[in-house]
Point group: C3
Chain length 339, copies 3
């Protein structure tokens, strides 16, 4: 039911305070996360091997973690190194350890076989403190299966309806035209021009009418790495509808990732912003507030959709031309599940 041999985002790096044990759950597996002295992040299954007390109720002793029910102590590699009042420690006394890595500002955890973990396969996201960009970040939980959120991110036609008054009002093209879909190793690339867009708010200064190049990579389990370039009207035509090679007037960045917590809970991490020169902190605040409003709109419709699905799980959806992205991506997930 879950793809285990995969990297999942557990947290923003700034969430993990030194000296504290943090509880997170990924694909139904509760984890105990903490920073070791050398800065690496330790991820244990949140379950003492002795009598199954949660390790997140334990105590850090240097780089080791002591369970505070009966006092068993574990090294960062998961081995039990102390059982009170018992000199011999059996080989089997250990808690499960998960490989971790930090890329950009996300803490990734490998939920599958330790030997198969390769940090080189982690998607390259931009760190929040990258000097090129001015970014804000947040997170939200959805009471829905992660693939419903993936569907949402793979069919941006919903911007014209769900976000009619927040993101979509000026761009009926989100629904009326279809992006180009390019397969990637573990995902899809979605690209399109949105022509003759009339910007609102502070974006008006860029021009009354603009062409917008929208491109994102969407990767398992729900990594959304989007660049949106705002160009002078006519740029789309001049490029023959292809990817532009010139720098945009305004370069917006959106990086998001969906983490399945359980079958009906998913955590959504997101950052949004633009190049430092494109936006000042006040305008970023406004852009970000609109973005977060849109996520609340997504949450409402997706959670309602989940409830409707759950009433009669065997019912068949009606495929339309809108569903090219979601359909291809779900086929990829099927492949990963059977692998």
């Amino acid at each position: 039911m879950w793809v285990r041999n995969a990297w999942y985002v557990a947290a923003w790096t700034h969430e993990l305070e030194a000296g504290r044990i943090h509880a997170r759950t990924i694909i139904d597996q509760p984890l105990a996360l903490y920073r070791a002295g050398n800065g690496t992040i330790v991820a244990f299954e949140d379950r003492c091997c002795h009598r199954f007390a949660p390790l997140t109720m334990g105590r850090l002793e240097g780089d080791d973690l002591r369970c505070m029910y009966h006092g068993l102590k574990f090294a960062p590699d998961g081995r039990c190194i102390e059982i009170p009042g018992q000199p011999r420690i059996p080989q089997s006394a250990a808690v499960r350890r998960y490989p971790t890595a930090v890329v950009g500002s996300w803490v990734w955890v490998w939920m599958g076989e330790v030997g198969a973990a390769d940090p080189a396969t982690i998607p390259p996201s931009v760190a929040l403190d990258d000097p090129v960009y001015r970014l804000k970040s947040g997170q939200i939980d959805y009471a829905a299966h992660y693939l419903l959120i993936d569907d949402n991110l793979l069919d941006l036609s919903h911007l014209s309806f769900v976000h009619e008054n927040t993101l979509g009002l000026d761009m009926p093209q989100w629904a009326d035209s279809r992006p180009r879909v390019v397969p990637l190793a573990r995902g899809l690339r979605m690209q399109r021009w949105l022509r003759n867009h009339s910007p609102r708010g502070f974006m008006k200064k860029l021009g009354e009418r603009l062409d917008v190049w929208n491109s994102y990579d969407f990767l398992f389990p729900g990594v959304f790495l989007q660049r949106t370039g705002f160009y002078p009207l006519g740029t789309a035509e001049a490029n023959g509808g292809q990817e532009p090679q010139t720098p945009p007037l305004f370069h917006r960045l959106d990086e998001q990732v969906v983490t399945p917590v359980s079958n009906r809970v998913s955590r959504y991490f997101y950052a949004a912003g633009a190049r430092v020169g494109d936006i000042d902190p006040d305008r970023l605040d406004r852009l970000f507030a609109v973005t977060e409003t849109a996520f609340q709109e997504d949450k409402a419709i997706i959670e309602a959709q989940q409830k409707t699905i759950d009433r009669e799980p065997e019912r068949q959806m009606l495929p339309t031309s809108l569903d090219a992205g979601p359909t291809q991506f779900r086929r990829l997930v099927e492949t990963l599940l059977t692998a």
Copy 2:
């Protein structure tokens, strides 16, 4: 488990505001209800055929309804008439539509095969604005299966105990004698004289002692149409215990209906009152307040009964002579279920 080929009450007519989509659930089927321009009521399954977003989160555009996830639009007959960015609309693009009818002040929805719907079979209830009566109406939800509420309405002996201090104090006969039970096409008729009743409150002006003729039809799924006539002492005897042919001193009307929402939720719609000349608005307020108190008493005992049943669903109840009505009606429901 549900009788599908049946009319169920979805709402009081005054609940359905023009220009709004209303969510109701009947026999586990979520519905989206709205008024079309010609006054007819449209009832759709509350599920877009595309990706199962609820239509109650959609938008009315004239008499049509647009799903506000990806923008599919549906005519009042359920056919999809627009898919954004897609010229061809497949035949199968449609949402399920349910026949509706208004009788009295209740909005009825036929939950079965469209072809089998016959509004002529809807029980004839009195409208709230009927000039003959002065009525008040309300509704309440029970956390119980609808048949437990039906049982309650089919054995009024409970008035002497559940409603001892509200309705039953002066009439131990509710428990001590048994009504005549007459089978009807889709229900039962229950009739009886309650003799030598000593009325309370403003009813005292009718006489120190009265004979009371109580008669109600009880029809699937839980329609309770009751007339109670208050007569001079001796009328029961004079009529040889049969139905009186003379008009009563006071004529009370109670019309109620139970709608199964789900296995453990039922909605109970009720109206109570008397002939205009029998009662003024103040006294109606008092009569109605007592009636609503009684429904709270019913709710408490029925919900507790449901919980007790659910602990061990296979346990067998002890039949008594009190159970003639409930037993016959449940046999009728069995027949409808197997039909």
Copy 3:
């Protein structure tokens, strides 16, 4: 799943007020409890045999109980003695009655076959008004299976960790040494010396260093009868590590019992105190407050442990030398379950 042929504690005697019907649940069986005129306690299944309304919503009429749905009346032995409007009462009209007994200040109910109930097998606990002791009592509900609480009480090594700052700080021996375990008919006796203990608070007046004799009987379903004697340093040595025959400087009493309410709820009744001469009411208040804080600590870790177990119920715990008591006791419970 439950041991039925056993006595369980339903309540403290002072909880059961005369003239009232009390609802309690033991091993998933809801009970209606009341005091009869002769002081004995009547325990019925909380379910009228007629249509399963709860008897706790009924009314006491002398020593009899009337169901307030349709009016059936039951004698203290469970037989139905009245059905309104029906002269003949069938033999099968009865509610289930459970044997009861009061020992000390606990009300015990026998949940199995009536014929097998023997009050002589009830463990002998001290009454709260026993003149020898000054005691306080309380109760708390755990969202956990009773055997997890039993495990906790059978392995006091947890005092060093769960109660590090409340009970365990001065006695690392709780974890570092092991008690003697002696099998009893329906439980275990656990005994040990804790040597060279440095007391805190008002206990300091007994001496800078003390030897502590800790002994408790633990009996099915979770009866914990503990005596703790504080002795001059050297007493353990002088007794060769055996049970002391001399009276202690301070004699603490702890009596507790766990009642399984359902699979995931358990009620924990407890009393704590010391001999009247050992402690004044103020100091008892302090001792008791610390004890109750410790129970909150237990509740937190046990409920978290239960949740972790429930995620993957088939996972195997790692046995250690700490688990001698819990393991032996669970073997005894298995024997009782198969009996």
